[in-house]
Symmetry: C2
Subunit: 173 residues, 2 copies
Amino acid sequence: MEFTIRAATPEDCKDISRMIMELAIYEKMPDQVKISHKELEQDGFSENPFFHCLIAEVPEQHKNKEGHTKVGYALYFYTYSTWKGRTVYLEDLYVMPEFRGKGIGKALISKVAQVCKEQQRVRLQLAALDWNTPSLDFYLAKGAQDLTASEGWHLIRFDGEALDKLAQEAPKN
Amino acid sequence: MEFTIRAATPEDCKDISRMIMELAIYEKMPDQVKISHKELEQDGFSENPFFHCLIAEVPEQHKNKEGHTKVGYALYFYTYSTWKGRTVYLEDLYVMPEFRGKGIGKALISKVAQVCKEQQRVRLQLAALDWNTPSLDFYLAKGAQDLTASEGWHLIRFDGEALDKLAQEAPKN
């Protein structure tokens, strides 16, 4: 199937927001989604954007029964390693179920890897759920390392009350 | 012991670089450190810095036998969650062994949490090694969640040849 990968524009944010929710449902955590297309427009398309996004689009004749032609996205931002320097983090990679198996996910992540090379960023990282074997297999088949399995890295989070409490305890000076 | 926490300046980069290596040795991966104080100066102190850093400093009379007064650091950068919006990632938190147990690590991470609140960032994340129980216990005691244990998130990495190959396979359009 024909498809194109291009940089997202503010006009894509409603579709990105729709697909963020589809991905969260797939990941069994839809109640965690708190932002809408308005925040995405503001945060991703200002002078110093907080993220970058690629969109996968199919021609009109391949639109699905709901009329969608924007069928996948890759959302990433720039990060930093104190060991390696400038790096990239892939926050989300998603292709709608009915458009999978056509090379769209591969094309999206390859384009993000191309951005890494163009911008001299030496590493691309992401997080995947341990029960999500289709995704894990997809990444590992392309040469990725599972650092949690091989080195023992665990992802740790402060939010809500724990973050508030921590901030309140900051020294004055 | 008296100490202060302040924003790092370019003049701190040699000490930050020294402590990055000390932390990498503690984490048993010193051979992974490829950047020096020069990259840190360039990447952290330009107009659009790739990271931010706090330094913990003790008064002259508490310097250690090597003469160091800069005894800890917290290096962080801004990230993005498609579920929650603007977030912060704590790449490194380190206090020199002989200065531990004095509240310096707690003060450093509390200051980063304060930055989160000031900048309306709803989440602070980091990665810790599963065998590093002093660090894990430190974070969990302060209310952090271990997302790898509770939700099954694994950290996945592309670098070196795998990243090169992925980039080469990107579609032209």
